[in-house]
């Protein structure tokens, strides 16, 4: 994030959108001494009218402050901010201490320095405050610390917002100061290399977890393990666990056909040979492995939640996709990950421990699954083509979407029409507390019905655990 954190408590109430950016300071007059001149003149006038010179003298105090306020210029913007984030990688809900130091690098006294650190929007401050107010003599530094609770995502700290005022407070200067590394650490240039090493990290709990950074905090939760996702009978040539409709080697009886030379002796129906003398071969349902792509709806509408403090639909989708991914790999299927949204993300279907680690890293920290809604514009056709082009021909699709609007329905039907069996896992972001919310819930129900009638399987995932929703959906399909 290059822009400072939009903070409702800062800035000009008349123009809340106008914020300082690095290198571009904003000066504004606070007009807080408005009316002091009126007091001075009133005192003078009363003094004249009542012939009391002492009153006119009292007015001098008003003139004094008014003059001081009017002659005040903006303070020098000689402030440097250093930040140290305790660790670069953290486990979910782990506490990470952030230390911020403000220094007066100029040679004039800064009587009023207010600092608000650029805490990433998705992080929660658990202890202390990311805000500080102080006065700084030349060369002096002030340090404050706070603790953030890590959550999934790759978080970038923004520049700290610094507000400077003179003694009278008549002029306020707003600065956005990018944080530098503390002098002792001196690893500012090591930023990019640190990023590269984190790509290959498998667990995030290794030694590099203790490295301090200036503006980054990454958190990739462990992929959940749980209920296997029921798959549809679209498979690859490899053997696996998805029961197909074609006869061959397997466990579940499928059919009997006449014997062909080369059929394995174990599958010859010897009872029939004994009874009739004809050779016949028993066929079983073949069990094959599937190729599944977990496609996550990451458009802005996926960032909806039933309540302001509730996890967003995207957050739950990512959890569900992680669980599905693990269970697919465990079952021997090939699984991949794709994002359908403004930012592209593609992990080709694969298997193995390294693949799983890469998926964890992607779901945890890839910008496509950022916990904050994207700024980039979503181009529907390009995003859809990007997904369609990369999908292997025999791949099934697990689409994770809250179905908060119509495009995902359209996407699911298109993919289905192109020969990919689609299962939609829809996290329910709706609330029923107001008429409008109830209407939106009904609209979503309608979308589910549309999908079901089009032959697309839908798992409607409300408040219950994902496993419960999957079992319920599976019962519905098998009856």
């Amino acid at each position: 994030m290059s822009s400072p954190v939009p903070d409702p408590h800062l800035g000009d109430p008349g123009a809340p959108d106008r914020r300082a950016s690095p290198g571009d300071a904003i000066d504004r007059t606070t007009r807080r001494w408005r009316g002091v001149t009126a007091f001075a003149l009133l005192a003078g006038a009363l003094g004249v009218l009542l012939s009391r010179p002492a009153l006119a003298l009292a007015g001098a105090a008003g003139v004094l402050f008014s003059a001081a306020a009017r002659t005040a210029g903006p303070p020098a913007s000689s402030v440097a901010v250093e930040r140290e984030v305790e660790r670069e990688r953290a486990e979910p809900s782990e506490s990470v201490r952030v230390t911020v130091t403000v220094a007066n690098t100029g040679d004039a006294l800064l009587p009023d320095v207010r600092v608000v650190d650029g805490v990433p929007g998705a992080l929660t401050v658990a202890e202390g405050s990311p805000r500080h107010a102080t006065a700084l003599r030349p060369g002096k530094r002030a340090t404050f610390t706070y603790v953030v609770r890590a959550s999934r995502g790759h978080h970038r700290f923004g520049p700290a917002t610094v507000l400077l005022r003179g003694f009278t407070g008549a002029v306020e200067r707003e600065l956005a100061v990018p944080a530098a590394a503390p002098e002792s650490a001196g690893e500012r240039t090591g930023g990019e290399t640190a990023k590269e090493t984190e790509e290959g990290t498998t667990t995030g709990t290794g030694d590099e977890a203790s490295t301090t950074t200036t503006d980054r905090l990454a958190c990739a939760p462990r992929l959940g393990e749980g209920q296997a996702v029921p798959l549809r009978p679209q498979t690859t040539g490899f053997s696996g666990r998805v029961t197909t409709d074609s006869g061959g080697a397997g466990a579940e009886f499928h059919s009997v056909r006449s014997y062909r030379p080369g059929d394995p002796l174990s599958r010859v129906d010897w009872a029939r040979v004994a009874r009739t003398g004809e050779f016949a071969t028993r066929q079983f349902r073949e069990e094959r492995a599937a190729t599944v792509v977990c496609l996550l709806d990451t458009r802005e509408t996926a960032y909806c939640a039933p309540a302001p403090s509730a996890p967003t639909a995207l957050e739950r989708s990512v959890t569900a996709a992680g669980t599905a991914f693990t269970s697919l790999l465990d079952a021997g299927d090939r699984a991949g990950i794709a994002a359908w949204g403004p930012t592209a993300c593609w992990l080709a279907p694969g298997m193995g421990g390294e693949h799983r680690a890469r998926a964890r890293e992607l779901l945890g920290t890839h910008p496509a699954f950022d916990p904050i809604p994207p700024d980039r514009t979503f181009l529907p056709t390009i995003a859809r083509r990007r997904v369609e082009r990369r999908l292997p021909a025999d791949a099934q699709v697990l689409l994770f979407s809250p179905l908060a609007d119509d495009p995902p329905v359209d996407l699911a039907r298109r993919l289905d029409a192109h020969g990919h069996r689609v299962t939609v896992v829809s996290t329910d972001p709706t609330a029923r507390d107001t008429a409008g919310h109830a209407l939106a819930a009904i609209e979503r129900d309608r979308r589910l019905s549309t999908l079901r009638s089009a032959g697309v399987r839908v798992v409607d995932w409300g408040d219950e655990p994902l496993a419960t929703a999957l079992v319920r959906a599976n019962q519905r399909w098998s009856t």
Partner: protein
Amino acid sequence: MSADTRRGAAGVDEAEPFDDGPGRAALAIVLVPGVVSALVLLTGGPAALAGALGLGLLAVGTHHGRRDLVGGGGLALLAGTLLAGAFGAGPAALLVAAGAGLVAWDTAEHAVGLGEQVGCRAATGRAVGVHAAGGGLLAASGGGLAYVVFRLVGGGSPVALVLLLGGAVALLSAIRS
């Protein structure tokens, strides 16, 4: 859309709700000039009432972070000064009352502004203290100068009044242009 409640991008998301009251330290600092102003006004007859009202409003406004109450308190202190002057208080007392009243209001308003922007969980005592000291220094030096001029010219003479008024108007107009 029901699901219009979006998280994130709403600024600094804190576990505890943002408390915008100034801290306890700020209140103590505000009370010093406020009490000085109110004490001086005690000598001015009915102005004592306005002084007490102003002090109370300043204290309550600072404690609860209410800008309007603080403004009312400052106004009451200044009105008390005018009242005291109308009832014949001495020049030194009036100057001290006005100066201390302005410093008290300035500090209180500053503390409330700090509370709004930085919150009460951050340490603000130092910033408020430095601000109050600066304001107090300005009031003391400027007020002292005005008093000396007033005395030198001969307190109470119409010449002093005219000189002071003329000087003030000239200063104001010079700054305005």
